[in-house]
């Protein structure tokens, strides 16, 4: 595949392998200027199954969104359950910001989703800034200095809205 042009000072973008099925864990801070939410996000993705769990800083589950081809549900700690056609309507309610659910795995793995553009790369050819459907996603730090390292911190902004993630763990699932 053709390499996208390098950012101003970075090396040419290196194609990054996708982790299709995984268990992800990271801390998340979301705010839209008024409301703010923070805690730990656990995301399990298997074929035809997505489960996002938001935990409070003290480890209590605040909410859980489950998505399958049949539909999506959001359950909150106080026992309320909300059904929807797909997760796109529910994930923002849990995260507190309107992040596009279907691009979240690319965001967290520093891969440009369909239609997104890598604006800047670092000396190893890893994205340091991606533009995607109006969002600017910055990758200030990576987990280590290998080309295929996962981003350690992700700062996504869309006007006043901001989503910041610190990655704590990736486990690839078969």
């Amino acid at each position: 595949c053709a390499l996208q042009p390098a950012g101003e000072d970075g090396a040419p973008l290196v194609e990054r392998a996708a982790i299709e099925h995984f268990e992800f864990e990271g801390r998340i801070a979301a705010s839209d200027g008024q409301r703010a939410a923070n805690g730990t996000l656990q995301w399990t993705r298997r074929a035809g199954y997505d489960e996002w769990t938001l935990l409070s800083p003290l480890g209590q589950i605040v909410a859980r969104v489950v998505g399958t081809p049949q539909g999506a549900t959001l359950r909150t700690a106080d026992g309320r359950t909300i059904e929807a056609v797909d997760v796109d309507e529910l994930l923002p309610q849990m995260l507190g910001v309107d992040a596009p659910a279907d691009h979240l795995d690319e965001w967290l793995q520093a891969r440009p989703a369909p239609g997104a553009r890598v604006i800047e790369t670092d000396a190893l050819g890893r994205p340091t800034r991606i533009s995607d459907s109006g969002w600017l996603i910055d990758y200030p730090t990576y987990a280590d200095d290998s080309a295929e390292a996962m981003p350690r911190r992700i700062d996504a902004t869309w006007g006043e809205v901001r989503l910041r993630v610190v990655t704590d763990g990736w486990t690839a699932l078969p």
Binding site: E23, R27, I28, A29, S31, R35, A36, N38, Q42, T44, E51, T53, L55, S56, P57, L58, G59, Q60, I61, V62, R64, R75, A77, D78, G79, R153, R164, V166, D168
Partner: protein
């Protein structure tokens, strides 16, 4: 040994303030590997506590009795919320709250297990984040808390070296956000 409830009353009467280390294990129903964390805590009734995670990563929660500050250095973010909403829902608040335990839970004797005398605390309101809380004591001192939520996740906190009557420095319960940190209030 005395029944759990008797020991809990003695502990509550004695523990105007307390400090020590904690070890926390969170086990999810979905068979995900348990998450272990540990750190230090101090509390000073009513309502003031400091809950400091050291491992696996630093997190600090400070309540001055009025507001609960939560600081995550990696995220470089502080969130502030009135302690009222959080009071009955965090384990720390249950310890340090002024009567939070009795206000938020019905206390029932929970028998003996693992060498401890237990109290079962059932939430009074349905919206409580906990389905059940169990408090284990020995020699009138808190040793373990077990909390299960509506998702079947169980949090166990052990207090290996809890000391009471520690007369903590009031500054421990004041939190000043480091400059450059984002401060977001709920």
């Amino acid at each position: 040994a005395d029944a759990g409830i008797v020991q809990l009353e003695r502990f509550v009467a004695r523990a105007g303030s307390a400090a020590g280390h904690f070890e926390q294990t969170v086990m999810s129903q979905s068979g995900r590997r348990p998450q272990v964390s540990s750190g230090r805590f101090v509390f000073d009734r009513p309502g003031r506590f400091r809950w400091e995670y050291v491992k696996p990563y630093p997190q600090l929660l400070v309540s001055d009795g009025d507001k609960l500050w939560s600081w995550d250095p990696d995220l470089n973010q502080v969130t502030v919320q009135p302690i009222g909403d959080a009071l009955g829902s965090t384990p720390a608040a249950i310890l340090a709250g002024d009567g939070a335990l009795e206000r938020n839970f019905t206390l029932i004797d929970g028998g003996e297990r693992d060498g401890l005398a237990w109290v079962t605390a059932e939430p009074r309101e349905r919206e409580s984040p906990f389905e059940i809380v169990r408090i284990g004591l020995a020699d009138g001192m808190l040793q373990r808390m077990e909390m299960r939520d509506h998702f079947g996740q169980t949090t166990v906190i052990d207090f290996p070296d809890l000391a009471t009557g520690v007369d903590p420095d009031p500054d421990l319960f004041r939190f000043v956000p480091p400059d450059g940190a984002d401060v977001l209030s709920h």
